[in-house]
C-alpha cells in the first residue's frame, strides 16, 4: 500500500459528529414538526447563501481531517515497507505545492523579492545589499518589474474563466437534477431559477456557489506562481497556513458542543425529569462550575495539562499527536465552561415535557423511567441541542483566537487563526509594516464567523415559536 491512514483523536470525534448529524437528519426528515423549521431555514435567502459558505469551509476542514502517512522509497536491503513519520492530510497533499514552496523569510503578497535586504554575491565578485529574488514567488518572470502586473492580470483572467466554466457546468448539473425532480424541461427549470420564484432560493445558492468557485479558481491559478497572501517569518506560505487553520476553528466550534453533549443531556434531563434532590444536586453542580470565571478555569486546566505533558513527554510519539491531544483537551474544557447553559435549557424543557399528556400516559401504562426518557423526552429535546450547536459556534471560533493569544489555546505548533494573530502582533511594529498574516487571518475568520452568525440568526428565527406567531404563520 502506498499509504497508511492515521486516525487522530479529533478525527475520530469528527466521524462521530458526522454520524450523529446524519442520524439526526434522517430522523428529522421523517418528522414533520422537525422538518418544518429546517424547511424554513433553506427557504431563506440568507440561510442558503451562508449555508453554501459554511459548507465550503466544512469541505476544507474535512479534507484536512483525513490523515495519512505516505510510504517512503524502498531502500536497498530493507524488505518491509517504511512509512514517513510525517502525518499529512488530504488537504496537505492537495496543497503540496504551497506547502513545499518555502522561502527564506517574509515576503509580501505577490512579491517577487524578499521583504528584507540581504548581501547578494554579484557575478563579478562584488557583494551588494539588496532585496534578493524569491526562490518560488514569481520565479518564472525574467523581468519582474515590467512583467508582473500583466502576468497577474493574465493569470487572474485565466483563473476566472476556468472558474466560470466549472461553475457553469455545476449549475447545469443542478438545473438538470431540479428539472427532473420538478418534471419540467431544462429551459423551464432555468427560467424558474433565474426568475427567483422557486421555493428554495436556488438562484441565491447557485450565485454564492459560483462566486466561491470563481474566487477559489483565481486564487488557485495565482497560487501556482505567487504567494497570494505572502509568506511569514520562516517563509511559509500564509495562504496555506490560513487554509490549515480552518480545521482548527471548525473543530473548536463543533467538537466543544459534541464533547459536552453527554454530560449536558444526562444531567439536564435528569434534573428536569426526576426533580427533587437530583435536581438540587445538579443545580448545585452547574452553579458552582458557572461561578468560576471561564477564562481562569481554562487557564488552570491548560496549565495543568502543560505540566502533565512536560513531565510525561515520552508518551507522545509525534508533535501532531501532542498538538491534537491538546486541542481535544481545549474542546473538553471549553465544553465544561459552556455546558451549563445547555444543561439549564434542557432541564427547563424536561420539566415542561414531563407534564405533557403522552409522557403521563406512558408513565401510567407502566413504561420504565428510562424508556420514557429515551422514547419521549430525548427526541423532543434534540432540536435544542442542534440550535445550541449552531448558536455557540461563532463564539467558540472567536474564543479560540483570544485563548491562543493568551497562550492557553491550541498548541503553538498547530495552525490556527489565534496563533497567526499572536505571531503577527510584533510584525505590526516593524517598518514597513508586515500586515498580510493578520489580514489573512482576519479575512478567513471574519467570513466564517459572519456566515455562522447570519446562519444562526436564521435558524433561531425558524425555531422560535414566538416569532413565528408574530409573523402569522
Amino acid at each position: 500500500m502506498p499509504l497508511i491512514p492515521v486516525i487522530l483523536w479529533t478525527d475520530a470525534l469528527v466521524l462521530v459528529l458526522l454520524a450523529l448529524g446524519l442520524t439526526f437528519a434522517l430522523y428529522a426528515s421523517r418528522h414533520e414538526h422537525l422538518r418544518d423549521p429546517w424547511r424554513r431555514v433553506v427557504r431563506s435567502r440568507v440561510g442558503v447563501a451562508t449555508l453554501v459558505v459554511l459548507m465550503a469551509y466544512a469541505l476544507v476542514g474535512l479534507l484536512d481531517t483525513v490523515h495519512l502517512r505516505l510510504k517512503q522509497d524502498a531502500r536497498p536491503g530493507v524488505e518491509e515497507a517504511r512509512y514517513s513519520p510525517e502525518v499529512l492530510s488530504l488537504l496537505d497533499l492537495a496543497l503540496s505545492g504551497l506547502r513545499e514552496r518555502q522561502e527564506k523569510t517574509y515576503s509580501a503578497p505577490f512579491a517577487t523579492h524578499l521583504f528584507v535586504k540581504e548581501a547578494i554575491d554579484q557575478p563579478d565578485g562584488t557583494v551588494v545589499r539588496d532585496y534578493p529574488r524569491l526562490k518560488y514567488g514569481g520565479a518564472h518572470l525574467e523581468n519582474p518589474a515590467r512583467q508582473r502586473g500583466w502576468d497577474i492580470a493574465w493569470r487572474s483572467l485565466l483563473g476566472a474563466v476556468k472558474g466560470i466554466i466549472a461553475s457553469g457546468l455545476f449549475i447545469l448539473g443542478v438545473c438538470w437534477l431540479l428539472a427532473r425532480s420538478w418534471g419540467v424541461s431544462l429551459i423551464e427549470a432555468r427560467d424558474r431559477i433565474l426568475a427567483g420564484k422557486t421555493q428554495v432560493p436556488w438562484r441565491t445558492a447557485l450565485m454564492t456557489l459560483a462566486a466561491l468557485l470563481v474566487l477559489s479558481s483565481v486564487a488557485a491559478e495565482l497560487a501556482l506562481q505567487y504567494h497570494v497572501l505572502g509568506t511569514d517569518k520562516v517563509g511559509e506560505d500564509v495562504f496555506y497556513q490560513t487554509l490549515k487553520s480552518v480545521r482548527t476553528g471548525l473543530l473548536i466550534g463543533t467538537l466543544t458542543t459534541l464533547v459536552m453533549l453527554p454530560a449536558a443531556l444526562l444531567l439536564g434531563i435528569a434534573a428536569g425529569y426526576f426533580r427533587g434532590w437530583v435536581d438540587d444536586v445538579i443545580q448545585y453542580l452547574y452553579t458552582t462550575l458557572n461561578s468560576i470565571p471561564g477564562v481562569l478555569l481554562i487557564a488552570a486546566v491548560i496549565l495543568m495539562l502543560q505540566v502533565y505533558m512536560s513531565n510525561h513527554a515520552d508518551s507522545f510519539t509525534s508533535l501532531v499527536e501532542r498538538a491534537d491531544l491538546r486541542l481535544l483537551f481545549l474542546c473538553l474544557i471549553l465544553g465544561v465552561t459552556s455546558w451549563t447553559g445547555l444543561c439549564r435549557l434542557l432541564r427547563g424543557e424536561a420539566l415542561k415535557l414531563r407534564e405533557i399528556d403522552y409522557v403521563q400516559a406512558a408513565q401510567s401504562l407502566g413504561v420504565g423511567q428510562f424508556s420514557v426518557i429515551a422514547r419521549h423526552i430525548l427526541p423532543n429535546v434534540m432540536h435544542i441541542v442542534l440550535i445550541t450547536l449552531v448558536l455557540d459556534f461563532s463564539g467558540l471560533v472567536l474564543a479560540e483566537a483570544v485563548l491562543s493569544y493568551v497562550n492557553i489555546g491550541v498548541d503553538p505548533t498547530m495552525n490556527s487563526w489565534g496563533n497567526m494573530i499572536n505571531s503577527a502582533r510584533l510584525e505590526l511594529a516593524r517598518d514597513p509594516v508586515v500586515w498580510w498574516s493578520l489580514a489573512a487571518a482576519f479575512l478567513f475568520m471574519f467570513t466564517l464567523v459572519l456566515a455562522a452568525n447570519l446562519f444562526a440568526d436564521v435558524v433561531r428565527d425558524a425555531f422560535d415559536p414566538r416569532l413565528r406567531q408574530a409573523s402569522g404563520a
Binding site: I292, A299, V307, Y308, Y405, I421, L428
Partner: protein, 325 residues
C-alpha cells in the same frame, strides 16, 4: 428582604466550598507539588534536594489533607488544603512565587482595572442604548436593515482585531495617544483613552443588537398600543414608555457584571500594558504562578455570586411587581 439576602449569602457558602474543592483538585491532586517544582526548576536533571527546598520555600512541603506528624487541631490545619485553600475564605491569599503578598497586589492593581472597566461600561451603555433607540425609531426602514447588518458584522470581528486596529490607527499612524503604558494618578488619562475607545467599539455589536431586540419586544406589548391609541407621539411613546420598561432587563444585565469589573479585562490590559488585575492574571498564567491563578479563581467566583445576589435585589428595587421572599 433581609432574610432573603441572608439566605442567599448562606446559599453561596456551599458553592464557594465547591469552587475551592475544584481548584484544590486541579492544582494539587491532578499534578502533585512535586510536578510543579520540577516544572519551575527545569525539566530533567533536578536533584531531590532542590525540589524539597522549593517546596519548603513555598509551603508545599506539608501533607495534602491530614498531617500525621502534628497533633490535635494542627493535624488538620498544618496541611496544604488548609493553608492554601481554606484560608482563601478569609481572603488570605498568601504570597506569590516571587514572594509578594497577593492580597496587597490585588488591592493595588484593582484601581487601574476599574479605571478602564467603569468608563467602558458607562460610555458603552450610553452609546448602545441611544443607538438602539435610534434604530428602533426608524424600524423597518433601510436605516434599520443597514444598522443590523453593520452590527452583525461588528460582532463577527474578534476583539483582538479591534485592539490591534485601534493601536495601529490612533497610535502608530496618527500618533494621537501613546500605544501602551500607564502612569500614576490623574496623569493616566492619556493612556486610558485608547483602551476605553476600543472597549466601547468592540462592545457595540453585541450590546446594541441585544438592546434593539429588547426594545422591539417591548414595543409589541399592549400598553404601547394603548399609548399610541391615546394619540401620544411616537417619540413620547418611545422615550417615556418603551425606554423606561426596557430599562429593567438592561439594568439587571448591568448589575450582574458590576462586581466582575474588578477583575479587569485580560486581553485589553495585557495589550495596553495596564497594571490591572487582568494583566496580573495573564502574567501569572504565563509565569505559571499557581498561587495567583488560584486566588483569582476564588475571587472571581465570589464576585460572580455577589453579582447574582445584587441582580435579585435590583429586581425588587426597579420592578415593584417582583417581591422576594
Amino acid at each position: 428582604m433581609s432574610a432573603y439576602i441572608l439566605r442567599r449569602i448562606l446559599y453561596a457558602i456551599p458553592i464557594l466550598i465547591g469552587v475551592n474543592l475544584i481548584t484544590f483538585l486541579l492544582f494539587f491532586v491532578v499534578n502533585s507539588p512535586e510536578d510543579m517544582a520540577r516544572m519551575h526548576l527545569g525539566q530533567k536533571r533536578v536533584t531531590t534536594e532542590a525540589i524539597q527546598a522549593w517546596k519548603a520555600e513555598h509551603g508545599y512541603d506539608r501533607p495534602l489533607l491530614y498531617n500525621d506528624a502534628a497533633s490535635g487541631l494542627a493535624s488538620l490545619t498544618d496541611t496544604i488544603f488548609f493553608q492554601k485553600s481554606v484560608k482563601l475564605f478569609a481572603f488570605q491569599f498568601g504570597s506569590s512565587d516571587d514572594g509578594r503578598d497577593i492580597g496587597y497586589d490585588i488591592s493595588q492593581r484593582m484601581w487601574p482595572s476599574l479605571a478602564i472597566a467603569v468608563p467602558v461600561l458607562m460610555v458603552g451603555l450610553a452609546f448602545n442604548i441611544s443607538y438602539a433607540l435610534f434604530i428602533v425609531f426608524f424600524r423597518a426602514t433601510y436605516i434599520d436593515i443597514g444598522s443590523v447588518v453593520l452590527l452583525v458584522a461588528m460582532l463577527s470581528i474578534s476583539s483582538l482585531f479591534y485592539i490591534i486596529g485601534g493601536q495601529f490607527l490612533l497610535s502608530k499612524a496618527f500618533h494621537l495617544v501613546p500605544i501602551s503604558g500607564y502612569d500614576q494618578g490623574l496623569n493616566a488619562w492619556k493612556f486610558l483613552i485608547l483602551p476605553v475607545i476600543v472597549g466601547v467599539i468592540g462592545g457595540i455589536g453585541s450590546g446594541t443588537r441585544w438592546y434593539r431586540s429588547l426594545f422591539l419586544e417591548e414595543i409589541a406589548k399592549d400598553y404601547v398600543r394603548t399609548a399610541r391609541a391615546k394619540g401620544l407621539s411616537e417619540r413620547f411613546v418611545l422615550f417615556r414608555h418603551v425606554l423606561r420598561n426596557a430599562l429593567i432587563p438592561i439594568l439587571t444585565g448591568v448589575v450582574v457584571v458590576l462586581p466582575l469589573l474588578f477583575m479587569g479585562s485580560l486581553i485589553t490590559e495585557s495589550f495596553f500594558g495596564i497594571p490591572g488585575l487582568g494583566s496580573y492574571t495573564i502574567d501569572a498564567i504565563s509565569n505559571q504562578d499557581f498561587a495567583i491563578v488560584r486566588s483569582m479563581v476564588f475571587l472571581g467566583a465570589v464576585l460572580y455570586i455577589l453579582g447574582l445576589i445584587l441582580t435579585d435585589i435590583s429586581y425588587t428595587v426597579v420592578d415593584p411587581r417582583v417581591r422576594l421572599q
